[in-house]
């Protein structure tokens, strides 16, 4: 399978992430080289505190990078204005909504904001896109419900629909499966897989559901203390990457089943 250069949606080059206070820099991870292609579902995994959130925050321009380059659709991140970035990159965050008094439709409709006029009126095309997004995420029957009436799983689908309505090449989700039960964790990730395939968008999410991510993702980005490795899940298992993911005193990775086990 060959993928030519125009199909690369997100690319980082020798990226170093971390925090800088005045002149002191604290590096969290360096030498990050990622290439994400169109229509790929990509999982970002790693232990707590390894820098997954920092990486996502840097990729989404919330936080400044320390060095290296980030390009989205062959344009460097710094060259995007707020509004233009909103047209290529949409987010699903862990933070709770400012107001849950919006209806599901109104919330998803807010995804069209980068395209609407000064007062935010929706035109016929906007309505079509919104309704299609509601269909794709299986929430059209929730359309008129208020967000405070929804369960966590439903709300997550709504937030995904909103990101979808923003119609961007890249969707980044920060831990979309937290607070969800086992079924809904699988449901949401499966939904993301389907959306990546159907809409040909690139979807990047961070998660602690390593077993599910191994099964569903096209590519995994694994963050360990020493390096950031990007590859297909089966290659990563072969290389034994997952064995080094966590300290080995409690859990071990079983190469055959592709999941972690508690040490006896």
């Amino acid at each position: 399978m060959t993928k030519n250069k125009s199909h690369i949606v997100l690319k980082t080059q020798d990226l170093t992430i971390g925090y800088s206070f005045k002149k002191e820099k604290s590096i969290i991870a360096s030498n990050i080289n990622i290439e994400l292609h169109k229509g790929e579902l990509v999982g970002l995994i790693g232990a707590n505190g390894i820098g997954k959130s920092t990486l996502l925050r840097t990729l989404t321009n919330v936080q400044q990078k320390l060095s290296g380059g980030i390009t989205i659709n062959n344009t460097t991140l710094e060259n995007y204005s707020n509004i233009n970035l909103a047209k290529v990159l949409s987010l699903v965050l862990t933070e709770s909504l400012g107001s849950k008094n919006l209806t599901v439709f109104e919330l998803v409709a807010l995804g069209r904001q980068p395209y609407t006029n000064w007062v935010g009126n929706l035109n016929e095309a906007d309505y079509q896109i919104i309704n299609q997004c509601l269909l794709q995420t299986n929430i059209e029957d929730l359309k008129h419900k208020k967000c405070y009436e929804l369960s966590d799983g439903q709300l997550q689908k709504v937030m995904i629909a909103r990101a979808l309505a923003q119609d961007t090449d890249l969707i980044i989700l920060d831990e979309p499966t937290t607070h969800l039960d086992m079924y809904h964790k699988a449901y949401i990730l499966k939904l993301l897989q389907k959306l990546a395939k159907d809409t040909n968008k690139t979807i990047l999410f961070s998660s602690h559901e390593i077993d599910l991510a191994i099964q569903l993702c096209d590519t995994l980005i694994v963050m360990t203390k020493d390096s950031v490795i990007t590859d297909q899940p089966c290659n990563l298992i072969e290389k034994g990457i997952f064995n080094d993911l966590f300290p080995k005193d409690l859990i071990i990775f079983d190469n055959k089943t592709g999941s972690f086990r508690v040490k006896k």
Binding site: L89, L110, W118
Partner: protein, 343 residues
């Protein structure tokens, strides 16, 4: 069911109620004027009694317009603040604008004897109070703007506004400690608010600044709706957070600042009207909320003013007392009835 409710019927009803309240407000007052003559006076026909014409044109009409401007302006600025700070307790005055005005007015009324000389000449004419109040709120606003430009966190602005309020009110306390009973009384009377003594030329200036504030609020509707998602989502939707925040603060200051300057610090309306509106309209969409708050504010202020006039008596109650006496029970009733706060 359509995808987005338009609330046509409630808007028509509200507009009719507003017209009704406007007519009632003009018809009622310490002097009884038959409705027929009120109507004649309004459209310029001769009235039975010459002085009635004068009362309607020079006193009741400007007062009714002032009431509508004050009510709608405070309601809208309250809504802006509640959405910006995502805090149901926010009102037009959380940024310390009233306290700035209060300090300005206190300096003019009570500082005159204290500092003597320079101030003594302009001693408490109406315009000097208006100017002092505007200057006071403007200076506080300037500080808030400078700081908000440097600060990332919107909540910090809220706290800074409150801190400014304490600084200014402490200064007012110091001033009042050293001032005479007469000056103190005058200051307290200003603090009770009054919408009854504006002339047409004053009203004209008042209206222009108010209209500017309303226009800026209208241009912020999209930003306000985006802010409902929270600031990080708003940014990811391409919103220029700093610019929108600045515009919202400027609109609020223009509205709340001029209203305080011309009518005194009217409390409660700015906090209560948005809640009242949400209870009735049950939406967070500012395309609906903003015009609804506008209408509600105007209606409530007209009603409060009609009551404050104590029709057919010579007495007038302070408007500030009425807004709370009437408004607070209404809000409590609405909240108890729905058992749920909409925010």
């Amino acid at each position: 069911m359509p995808d987005t409710k338009t609330y046509k019927l409630p808007f028509i009803v509200l507009t009719l109620v507003l017209l009704l309240c406007f007519c009632a407000n003009i018809s009622l007052g310490s002097v009884f004027i038959p409705f027929q003559d009120v109507f004649n006076g309004l459209i310029g026909n001769p009235t039975e009694n010459e002085s009635w014409q004068h009362i309607i044109h020079e006193y009741r009409l400007p007062k009714a317009f002032t009431a509508m401007i004050v009510g709608s302006g405070l309601g809208v600025s309250g809504l802006l603040m509640q959405t910006l700070f995502r805090n149901p307790l926010a009102g037009p005055f959380v940024l310390g604008i009233t306290s700035g005005s209060s300090l300005g007015v206190a300096l003019v009324i009570m500082g005159a004897s204290l500092f003597g000389g320079a101030f003594a000449g302009i001693f408490v004419s109406k315009w000097s109070i208006v100017i002092a109040a505007s200057l006071g709120s403007f200076i506080v606003l300037l500080f808030v703007l400078i700081i908000s430009n440097k600060i990332r966190d919107t909540m910090a602005i809220l706290i800074i506004g409150l801190m400014f309020a304490s600084i200014t009110s402490a200064t007012v306390n110091v001033l009042s400690y050293f001032s005479s009973a007469e000056e103190l009384k005058q200051y307290i009377f200003w603090g009770l608010g009054s919408i009854g003594n504006l002339r047409w030329d004053e009203l004209f200036i008042f209206f222009i600044i108010y209209a500017l504030g309303i226009i800026i609020s209208l241009t912020s509707i999209k930003a306000l709706n985006t802010l409902l998602l929270g600031e990080n989502y708003a940014k990811s939707l391409g919103l220029n957070l700093k610019k929108s925040r600045l515009l919202i603060i400027i609109a609020t200051s223009l509205l709340a600042g001029t209203i305080t300057a011309f009518a005194g610090p009217i409390v409660f309306i700015g906090l209560a009207i948005p809640h009242m509106t949400r209870q009735v309209f049950n939406t967070s969409n500012h395309k609906i909320l903003l015009p609804a708050v506008f209408l509600f504010g105007a209606i409530v202020m007209l009603i409060c003013d009609s009551i404050a006039q104590l029709p057919s008596s010579d007495l007038t109650l302070p408007i500030n007392a009425i807004t709370s006496l009437i408004g607070a029970p209404v809000i409590i009733w609405l909240l108890v009835r729905k058992r749920k706060m909409v925010f």
